[in-house]
Symmetry: C2
Subunit: 201 residues, 2 copies
DNA sequence: TAATAAAAATGACAGGTGTCATTAGTATTT
DNA sequence: AAATACTAATGACACCTGTCATTTTTATTA
């Protein structure tokens, strides 16, 4: 009997998956969570064999939960289940030695099959993602550029960012100018768009 | 036996919902679609009693499919099932006399219950949305402002927009300036954000 | 026909944005 | 000690943005 925890913020999908997995004789859902923080508490308590994590959740992302699981050396298998085929996410997942990375565009039987496979030590990655992984563009931005770009994403202006980071506004503009060049776009907004799309910030 | 068509672009959710609904004795899924265009073909062919439509799908949105159903005077009940509690979407749905407007954050049993209720002529709206409906801010933007703001959303610059619409760039700036004032924000990007969030563009 | 409203354009202003060349301080390496 | 690279700052330039007052043109209405 495989003990599973599932973390997914959309109740409709979470509930549906649970109902269907419970119909399989060898699977048992030992807990469900609607956000990352809840998921971590649950996993600590239930010690599941497999946990299925959505990436984009409130409080803690699925990748952050995965990092915690690995840091605590839990023997738990990890499946990331997400809508987004973003290279950055996938790269991060690989670095964390995630066991399965599955897109929400797969059939349920694929997900169930993947659970069984990873329990046997296999690794599962959705077909559409394999290509993404090979292309493997890596994040051209350094830490400072990432920080500044994140603040732009959150709607802050050059001046506000300069105050927040204790730098002059000229420096902020320089960082953004560099980011724009590295990402081969023309405005800070396009830079944010591209960086988000690639999973780089 | 209630005949149901379901249109939802995420296969995992679509498949899960179908499996679970098929377990109910009085429900029967007569067709599934992964985008709006497919959904419309299906509905014309199957003449279901109820169709469940996601809003954000490729080709045709759920609301556009709903409009087609109403224009052709099909006797089909319509349930909109979406992630987003956006006032503009809800308003449009109400104008189309949609029978149910359900958030993806509800339990499955709520959705199944809603199907039965609308078959008996009731109307179902997710609790969280009732408030949104009463607040009922309406879109302060006129047609031209909406068009310009949509182009900004798609990443076009002032100059590109002026060429596309055969207006001078000064005029585009004036329209954007007005939009910014009407939406009570400070930049064009914030204007786009707010308008999207409210379902106004 | 005259009055009114709207859509579109213009010009001017302050301030924001992106680029670039240059400088300076500070580690790190060789 | 010299070379290298990174981080931060500065000033200058052209261009973009948001605002405002004003004008022209074109429909609509009285």
């Amino acid at each position: 009997m495989i003990k599973i925890c599932i973390a997914e913020d959309q109740q409709l999908l979470r509930g549906a998956l649970i109902s269907i997995m419970e119909l399989e004789e060898d699977l048992h859902i030992v807990g469900e969570a609607a956000d990352g923080a809840e998921a971590w508490t649950l996993i600590e308590k239930e010690k599941p064999d497999v946990c299925i994590l959505d990436i984009e959740m409130p409080h803690l992302s699925g990748l952050e939960v995965a990092a915690k699981i690995r840091n605590h050396n839990f023997p738990c298998k990890i499946m990331i289940m997400t809508t987004f085929a973003r290279a950055g996410y996938l790269q991060e997942a690989m670095d964390l030695h995630i066991d399965a990375y599955v897109l929400k565009d797969e059939p349920i039987q694929y997900v169930i099959g993947a659970v069984r496979k990873i329990m046997q030590g296999e690794r599962v990655i959705s077909q559409d993602l394999a290509a993404t992984l090979f292309m493997n563009e890596k994040n051209p931005l350094n830490e400072r550029e990432i920080n500044v770009l994140k603040l732009v994403k959150d709607g802050y202006t050059t001046n506000e960012i300069s105050k927040k980071l204790f730098l002059t506004k000229g420096t902020i503009r320089n960082y953004l100018s560099l980011s724009i060049q590295k990402l081969e776009v023309e405005t800070r907004q396009q830079a944010v768009q591209k960086a988000v799309e690639k999973g780089w910030i």
